[in-house]
């Protein structure tokens, strides 16, 4: 095979390259200083510089070329939206991490290194147009995460979480790889555009391909914690340092959903033989919503509650994915998924930011009792948290409402009435647990005075997220248009 690489190809992967280059800097500096951690702000700045240059590349090369490296990477609308979300979330994660007790330790340089490389993995995952590249990206992302979760030096939960995630994640990756091998064996290609041509016919005729496809979907479902592959989520989310939890909940989900959309765009589900898969996916969506929301109701730890709620949100997203996968007028579903993940990233990252602010020492698991009376101690943080939680619950006029509106519209348009109704019932349950922190913050007296530290950067980010959640909610039209236009060529 003759490979022809142009300089444009390297420009296109510039974001990943620059992230990687700048991720080396803090480590190199640390080594040169004799393994002494330097000023954390300087480390943070290296991270920011990497992200800024990556964003620069991303914007500068937008629309330059559709594919790169012999079509192994694809740069379309989904890539750029998911890429921007990932970079944004990486920035916020680093900001939180510097202000958090369990991440701003003697190993902060390593933390920045791993986070940036995790972002590289996510970008690769998003760009992948070939299942092998997909796997490489997925593994790079996951391996960085395993270490990030385990990095906290004191937290015993973090070790447990890392190990759990590692074992289950490897298992899921193995299933996915196994599925990819089946697909390669039956279709003779791991190339996603090829699957678009042959997938629908192969799935009806070739059982091996069917199995391979199902395994691929299962592996992907694990990463976005769809029931019954969700069981790791609460423990892992709770055990990880909060900034990492936020990163996992938003960045990983954005990257995985971008890939999931590509699978859905392959039109494999259109074949009659694949209809049972659609049925199963519908049930999984419904059960995920149920399990996530019901699970969250009984939690006392805020982080665990958000973990279950993130499972529920995956269920809502699944509704959009199904609407995107069954052909017909699937554009609403596809762009709905992208819009929702964008909305979800903003509000979830904001909420985890508040938790990160509230933690007073390394092992601190913030409970409902800890946030009692926060409204009188910290009115602005409490207000921001309230806005973010209401948005997560889908109360208008926040972006969460418009996200749900978009997704449920897609479901109704494609005739999945019951999924829309089920999603609506899920939202009602979710409002109950999203309001509990509000009750604690505003309507209960504080038990002990909270020695909450001033963390201007994190606080700024949290407030910014709250403002954006309302602002982008009210002025959501440009986003709707932008997302529909960028997703349209793929579907």
């Amino acid at each position: 095979m003759q490979l022809s690489l142009g300089w444009i190809d390297f420009l296109l992967i510039g974001p990943a390259l620059s992230l990687f280059a700048f991720s080396i800097v803090p480590l190199a500096v640390k080594v040169l200083r004799g393994n002494v951690e330097q000023n954390s702000f300087a480390t943070l700045c290296y991270g920011y510089m990497g992200i800024i240059s990556a964003a620069g590349f991303l914007i500068a090369t937008a629309g330059l070329k559709q594919t790169a490296f012999e079509n192994a990477l694809v740069f379309d609308g989904i890539s750029s939206i998911a890429g921007i979300i990932v970079l944004l979330m990486t920035t916020i994660t680093l900001t939180y991490a510097r202000d958090n007790y369990s991440t701003n330790t003697r190993q902060f340089s390593e933390f920045v290194f791993l986070t940036l490389n995790c972002a590289v993995g996510m970008l690769t995952f998003i760009w992948s147009n070939d299942l092998i590249i997909t796997f490489v990206g997925l593994e790079l992302m996951s391996l960085c995460l395993y270490v990030l979760i385990a990095m906290s030096s004191e937290d015993k939960f973090s070790k447990e979480a890392a190990f759990k995630y590692f074992v289950l994640g490897s298992f899921a990756s193995a299933i996915m790889l196994y599925g990819i091998s089946f697909i390669y064996g039956s279709a003779g290609s791991t190339f996603l555009p090829d699957l678009k041509n042959v997938g629908a016919s192969l799935i009806s005729t070739n059982r091996l391909f069917l199995m391979g496809f199902v395994m691929l979907v299962v592996g992907t479902c694990f990463k976005i914690s769809i029931f019954p592959f969700h069981a790791w989520a609460p423990d892992v989310y709770q055990g990880s340092p909060t900034p990492v939890t936020g990163f996992m909940a938003t960045g990983v989900k954005a990257a995985t959903l971008a890939f999931f959309l590509r699978i859905m765009a392959s039109q494999t589900l259109l074949a009659e033989r694949a209809w049972p898969i659609v049925d199963v996916l519908q049930w999984l969506a419904a059960l995920t919503i149920l399990v996530g929301n019901v699970g969250a109701v009984r939690q006392t730890s805020l982080k665990r509650m958000l973990a279950y709620s993130s499972v529920a949100h995956s269920g809502y997203l699944m509704i959009g994915l199904i609407a995107a996968g069954v052909g017909g007028e699937n554009l609403v579903g596809a762009s709905g998924v992208m819009f929702y993940i964008f909305a979800y990233a903003l509000m979830t990252m904001g909420a985890f930011g508040v938790l990160s602010l509230l933690e007073t020492h390394e092992d601190h698991d913030v409970t409902f009792d800890d946030i009692r009376g926060l409204a009188s101690d910290r009115p602005i943080v409490a207000l921001a948290m309230t806005v973010l939680l209401l948005s997560l619950g889908g109360v208008p006029p926040t972006i969460g409402f418009f996200g749900k509106f978009f997704l449920f519209s897609a479901a109704v348009k494609q005739g999945f009435w019951w999924l829309a109704l089920w999603g609506v019932i899920g939202s009602v349950i979710s409002v109950y647990y999203y309001l509990r922190p509000v009750v604690a913050m505003y309507m209960q007296e504080s038990v002990a005075d909270q020695p909450m530290m001033d963390r201007p950067m994190s606080q700024f980010v949290v407030v910014l997220m709250a403002v954006l959640v309302v602002g982008f909610g009210i002025f959501s039209e440009p986003f709707f248009q932008m997302f529909i236009q960028s997703v349209a060529p793929v579907f």
């Binding site: 006029p397 509106f405 519209s409 609506v424 939202s427 409002v431 309507m443 209960q444 039209e477």
Partner: protein, 505 residues
């Protein structure tokens, strides 16, 4: 611009309040703002033409064109008085809460201002999604108000209130999405515009549950029936009312419940005429049960506020049977009763709040002989009671009489049964009055620990005076009020099966 200003001025006030440096300036400043807003709303009398049934003062700008959503507001005879009622109550509520709200004063006033915006938006939106946004947004300030300044069981009450109402309205959201896509099928263009919804041809099959119109009708009705609240969806109401602070109860009873009945008039009946007609007996039965059940439960209450709360269930039952009688008198009476209920129940909650502030008890048993200790208060209470039990000469009489008259023409049995509600209403109210105001002095009246006596002061007289004036004005000269809605109601009934609204340019 007029309606936009009317809706969003309170939001601006809420933001401005944030910059008021001293806590003790908050009350006068808010009162001034709210009074200004009310005076501004009086300009509606000049701009609104009661002779036209069309939408007036319309403003329309694209908001989310992807889904055909517009910022589209307008006013007609149906929403006119509800808007006036909302604007009228805000300054009153501020004046009434002058001393009763002691902590977090600024947040409280911000909440009320935001609530006013949401309520006005609900009544003035002609775009369905815009309506939905305001409808839902109104929950948050009320939720916070009950939860932050409420009584001892406030957390339970406020959660129940929020989740109950949210539950109903989310089904409405799914129905709205369906209607939006139906406009695309039938007119080739997405539109969330209520005027386009009216033109939709929604298939209805009688005796079949899974016909489009029936399902949509049920989704909408559920949302509004919970809000009204109709029996058997009323259980959130007593909790919310009893636990809410006085201003919250007033706003909740006087305006927020009307969002439900307004929804029936604006959405359910015109959008789904066949299904409404088909299911009208169900609503009549539930309305009648609500009237009698509410009255009976009110009778056995030991807490004055709870009694008033249950009387709301009974009164709202009247509004529902009036609307679902589909007769001129019934619908007119229904609309009138919405205002009456706002005035009389609002005033009752204020009165209960005034005495509670002095004695810290609402137990009927603890009172007795209050008439001699607080004569002015007693007079005011009696007048409002007469209004509530529909004594001729007061506003309540006009409303209930029209409703019963209208219902009698279309379904005699419903009218006959609901008349008993009038008697029961007199029973529970007058019995309560007897036990509280007359007879031997109760422990609270005997050992009066309040600083300035039990009777109302000048501020409270100012609060109550407008209510008493309105009670008689609306009772003696109903046409002063009904004329403003007449054209719209006539239009509503004439074109019930093919309802359309035009825009007045």
């Amino acid at each position: 611009m007029f309606l936009t200003l009317l809706i969003f001025l309170p939001t601006v006030f809420a933001i401005l309040l944030g910059f008021v440096p001293r806590e003790r300036w908050v009350r006068p400043v808010s009162l001034a703002f709210a009074t200004g807003h009310f005076l501004f709303s009086l300009l509606l009398f000049k701009h609104f033409d009661p002779a036209k049934a069309s939408l007036q003062l319309v403003e329309k700008t694209p908001w989310v064109p992807t889904f055909g959503i517009n910022y589209f507001v307008g006013i007609d005879g149906i929403s006119f008085w509800l808007v006036m009622l909302t604007c009228f109550l805000t300054p009153i509520v501020f004046l009434a809460s002058w001393t009763s709200i002691a902590n977090r004063v600024k947040s409280f006033h911000v909440c009320i201002f935001l609530l006013t915006t949401a309520m006005l938006g609900t009544f003035l939106s002609i775009d369905a999604i815009l309506f939905y946004v305001f409808f839902e947004a109104s929950l948050i300030p009320m939720y916070l108000m009950i939860g932050m300044w409420g009584g001892s069981r406030r957390l339970y009450a406020t959660m129940k209130f929020f989740i109950y109402t949210f539950f109903g309205s989310l089904f409405m959201l799914v129905a709205l999405i369906t209607l939006i896509f139906m406009t695309q099928e039938q007119f080739g263009q997405l539109s969330a515009n209520l005027l386009d919804f009216y033109k939709l041809n929604i298939p209805f099959v009688a005796n079949q549950f899974f016909s489009t119109q029936t399902l949509l009708f049920i989704c909408f009705s559920l949302a509004f029936a919970i809000k009204v609240p109709m029996f058997p969806f009323h259980t959130w109401l007593p909790d919310a009312h009893v636990e809410a602070p006085t201003p919250g109860s007033v706003m909740l009873a006087a305006v927020m419940l009307k969002m439900g009945t307004y929804g029936f008039m604006r959405f359910v009946i015109p959008l789904f005429p066949a299904a409404s007609e088909y299911f009208a007996p169900v609503f009549l039965v539930l309305g009648v049960i609500g009237i009698i059940y509410g009255a009976l439960v009110a009778m056995v209450q030991t807490d004055i506020k709870k009694l008033v709360a249950y009387s709301s269930v009974s009164h709202m039952g009247y509004v529902m049977i009036g609307l679902f009688s589909f007769s001129l008198y019934g619908v007119t009476g229904g609309l009138y009763q919405m205002l009456n209920h706002g005035i009389s129940t609002g005033a009752l909650f204020l009165l209960v709040g005034m005495i509670y502030e002095r004695t810290h008890s609402r137990e009927i048993k603890q009172y007795g002989g209050l008439a001699s200790a607080a004569p002015l208060y007693t007079i005011a209470f009696l007048i409002v009671t007469f209004s509530s039990i529909a004594v001729p000469g007061t506003n309540g009489f006009i409303g209930e009489f029209l409703i019963l008259l209208g219902t009698f023409t279309t379904s005699k049995w419903a009218a006959c049964l609901s008349v008993s509600g009038v008697i029961l209403g007199a029973v529970y109210m007058l019995w309560m009055v007897k036990r509280v105001f007359f007879g031997p002095n109760g422990p609270l009246v005997e050992h009066d620990h309040s600083k300035h006596g039990l009777d109302i002061n000048i501020r409270e007289m100012v609060v109550l005076a407008p209510f008493i004036i309105l009670i008689f004005w609306m009772g003696l000269f109903p046409n002063d009020f009904l004329d403003w809605s007449k054209a719209s109601i006539d239009h509503f009934l004439e074109h019930r099966t093919n309802y359309e609204l035009s825009i007045d340019r």
